[in-house]
């Protein structure tokens, strides 16, 4: 195994993160704070408690998931798309590294970054609302699993994209709607029956639900189901990455 290469790629990507610290960290913190001001304080004060949790606190896990998903996808997709765009990918492709080492380097760095953001948002949230975390180990587990899975998904998008528009397309048209409709801001029990049924086809529901359970001990769907669905999505992404590298799809002619 070429550990030096994994470290080099990971270090390169993390250096990029720290170089753009302001844009990578400050902007999600500000936007999260805005969500709290609007949903938590302005609107939330008129909404009753959900499952015994104040609305402001109820949306915290959903907000963290929202950032985790969008940041994982955008970090990882940009991380691999940019070398493809500039041509510097030649060096990685000509290096004595296996495909999995490349993936661990890029996806690991993207996941690390989005987890850092998730924890920063958690810390920011604790300034606004009283938080309690009933199952911290599970909370961290979901954080890692979600960050890794969606960074992997972002990596796939970055390889698939052959222009900057496509890079934005999937996050904008698919991921953001799914996240907003995935119970970040409400319990799916609040939905009319038809919509509730449709919601179960939305993978984000399982992530948010599982993550919220780790905070407050109550969830829309069972924790086992949440975990299983996340693992299924992870497996699908892994299979896709394996296919990409086996065929050289959009990397090698």
């Amino acid at each position: 195994m070429n550990l030096y290469a994994i470290r080099a790629i990971y270090g390169f990507e993390m250096a990029r993160t720290f170089r753009t610290l302001l844009q990578s960290v400050v902007s999600p913190v500000i936007s999260t704070s805005l969500y709290f001001v609007v949903f938590g304080s302005a609107i939330g004060s008129r909404i009753a408690e959900v499952d015994g949790v104040s609305y402001g606190a109820f949306i915290v896990p959903g907000l963290i998931m929202l950032s985790l998903l969008t940041q994982s996808i955008s970090n990882a997709s940009f991380g691999i798309y940019f070398p493809k765009f500039t041509g510097t990918i030649y060096e990685v492709l000509s290096a004595p590294v296996s495909y999995w080492e490349i993936v661990v380097g890029y996806v690991g760095a993207a996941a690390t970054k989005s987890m850092m953001l998730g924890l920063i948002i958690l810390a920011t949230a604790s300034l606004f609302v009283p938080l309690r975390i009933e199952h911290p180990v599970w909370m961290f587990g979901f954080l890692v699993l979600t960050a890794a899975t969606f960074s992997l998904f972002g990596f796939i998008i970055g390889i698939w994209a052959d222009g900057f528009e496509k890079l934005q397309l999937v996050p904008l048209l698919i991921v953001t709607p799914l996240t907003f409709l995935g119970g970040s801001f409400y319990s799916i029990d609040m939905l009319p029956p038809l919509w509730r049924t449709l919601t179960f086809f939305n993978p984000v529901v399982y992530l948010v639900s599982g993550f919220r359970w780790s905070f407050y001990g109550s969830s829309d769907v069972g924790i086992e189901v949440s975990l299983a669905m996340t693992l299924v999505f992870l497996a699908v992404c892994l299979a896709l990455v394996a296919w990409i590298f086996r065929t050289g799809y959009r990397l090698k002619s």
């Binding site: 030096y4 290469a5 080099a8 060096e91 990685v92 492709l93 000509s94 290096a95 004595p96």
Partner: protein
């Protein structure tokens, strides 16, 4: 000693149907400077890209120091450093960081002393903390070379190293390549500047339309295909070549002021003595004479024309 790179039966057809390489067989000897010469689109970059792992071959095999480039890619690739044709560099990394990155990527533990040595050799040490984006094109080219040398490769590929490079950098680059060869590094360069191959290479391979049409020691190539010209500066211009001299391969140049005789250096008789006698009999007098050998460029042009 076995060749350091052995290419056998290699061909490449792109998804578009374009046949970039027909069937290539080539051996690169350890420690030599090999120039792959050919016009644009001849298949030089495709050949290099396959050896370095950037392009999948359609058929055939390549072994680098005995390691198959597909089955044993780790061993094969860690021996190779590649300097690509395009100036593809990162933008915001520093020179030192990017060279250190390359070293790690190729599986070598960090060694700031070696990176320093490489940067100094390329006159980049002063710029080590500069972001790459702030460097000139020539400097970026040096950065790419530094990256390729950071992991101490024993084979260096230079794809069009001096395209768009100023004279000074070109001289520096040639000097560097010679130094590398002195330390035992095998250098393979592609170029369409004949001057470069002529100046640097031990052996020359000419590639055209995806086929290696010739591989030869440079000196041997020049000798074999070299034709010489005897140029006579006439005292009085000639309107046409006289009948009596029609047996010789003569042309008029410089408005009839020069008579050019082309002859084969390898022929048993060059015919020069006979020609001079015939000239004197025809009453043609000359002020001065000189000879010139055909350059690799002329050899190359005629080869490519023949194969087309």
């Amino acid at each position: 000693m076995p060749p350091i790179i052995q290419v056998s039966g290699l061909s490449k057809t792109y998804a578009t149907g374009f046949r970039a390489l027909k069937t290539i067989d080539l051996e690169i000897m350890r420690g030599e400077i090999f120039a792959l010469l050919g016009p644009n689109g001849a298949g030089k970059t495709t050949l290099i890209s396959i050896i370095c792992g950037l392009v999948n071959p359609t058929a055939g095999h390549v072994a680098v120091d005995g390691h198959d480039i597909v089955a044993d890619y780790r061993a094969a690739r860690s021996l190779i450093g590649l300097v690509p044709q395009e100036l593809t560099t990162d933008a915001f990394e520093t020179v030192f960081a990017t060279a250190s990155f390359s070293r790690g990527l190729f599986g070598k533990p960090a060694d700031p002393a070696h990176v320093e040595k490489v940067l100094r050799a390329l006159s980049l040490w002063e710029k080590r903390n500069s972001k790459i984006i702030t460097l000139s094109g020539g400097m970026k080219r040096r950065v790419l070379i530094a990256k390729a040398l950071a992991h101490e490769p024993s084979i260096l590929f230079l794809d069009e190293p001096t395209a768009g490079v100023d004279v000074e950098l070109r001289r520096d680059m040639w000097a560097l390549v010679r130094e590398l060869r002195a330390t035992g590094v095998t250098v393979i360069l592609t170029t369409h500047y004949i001057e470069e191959a002529e100046e640097m290479a031990d052996r020359v391979g000419v590639i055209s339309h995806g086929e290696l049409i010739l591989v030869e020691q440079k000196a041997e190539l020049m000798r074999k295909l070299g034709r010489k010209q005897l140029i006579l500066q006439l005292q009085a211009p000639l309107p046409a070549i006289p009948e009596s001299l029609s047996a010789y391969e003569l042309t008029l140049a410089a408005d009839g002021n020069e008579l050019v005789y082309t002859y084969d250096t390898q022929a048993e008789r060059t015919g020069i003595t006979m020609l001079l006698r015939a000239l004197s009999e025809a009453g043609i007098r000359f002020r001065d004479l000189r000879t010139r050998e055909s350059s690799l460029e002329e050899i190359f042009v005629s080869l490519v024309r023949e194969s087309a």
